[in-house]
Symmetry: C2
Amino acid sequence: MSADLSISRLIKAPPAAVWRAWAEAEHFDKWWIPHPMECRSVRHDVRPGGGFETLMREGNGEWQPHLEGCFLEAVPEQRLVFTTQLAEGWRPIEPWLALTAVMSFTPEDGGTRYSAQVMHKTPEDAAMHAEMGFEQGWGTVIDQLGVLAPTLT
Amino acid sequence: MSADLSISRLIKAPPAAVWRAWAEAEHFDKWWIPHPMECRSVRHDVRPGGGFETLMREGNGEWQPHLEGCFLEAVPEQRLVFTTQLAEGWRPIEPWLALTAVMSFTPEDGGTRYSAQVMHKTPEDAAMHAEMGFEQGWGTVIDQLGVLAPTLT
């Protein structure tokens, strides 16, 4: 039993466009949370040690916390890593779900092989995340990324 | 009330020597744990994402876990950052004490101003770490570093 979950899709846009959809908050907010929920980035500082924080809203409700984390690696158009164990400036925090996500952007067939590997503390945490709907949640938003990225070329 | 603790000493050796005492495991093991306890590094990969793991032993006892973490930043002779929230390769772990430590090495009066800032999740965690003897523990090993570093010039 592994402590990792992963998902991968071929996106019909070059790595530069898929990277922009991740690295620029105005684009990122359009795909990171399953529609029709809305996403708002309050921090999106894509560099090692930079903060990453999103809010979500359903209908006309209040903005709620969604995710807080810290970027660990940012290699433009190639690789992006964040963790929920730390916040901006490497400060340790108590996340509702401890994970580190490694995203890779690889040229393939004129598009981009986008892969996300999500590491957890234990196989039990990974199994819980799977039951919470990892495959559907991350799958839905990658589909949304796949629709947005080709418009950014 | 702050979530940080910090300590600073002037060491009579240049930043290059203080850095070596940190970055090279054979030297590091000689000062990282208060004597007469012994320290053994099982991982000491000083680069972002590299693992950091030490064991300790008292007298002729068994080697026991001491600390596990991951380096976040490593700028030779200037700045070193690690966290206990992650292990090698950025994997999230459950530490017995969640912290991120930022060490800086600054030339001063022909020696090195060595400062460690230790960030916790909450002011309560910092207060607990203070009660556990942060000042004495980190102070003792910085004194040991201060004895070792001048021999590495």
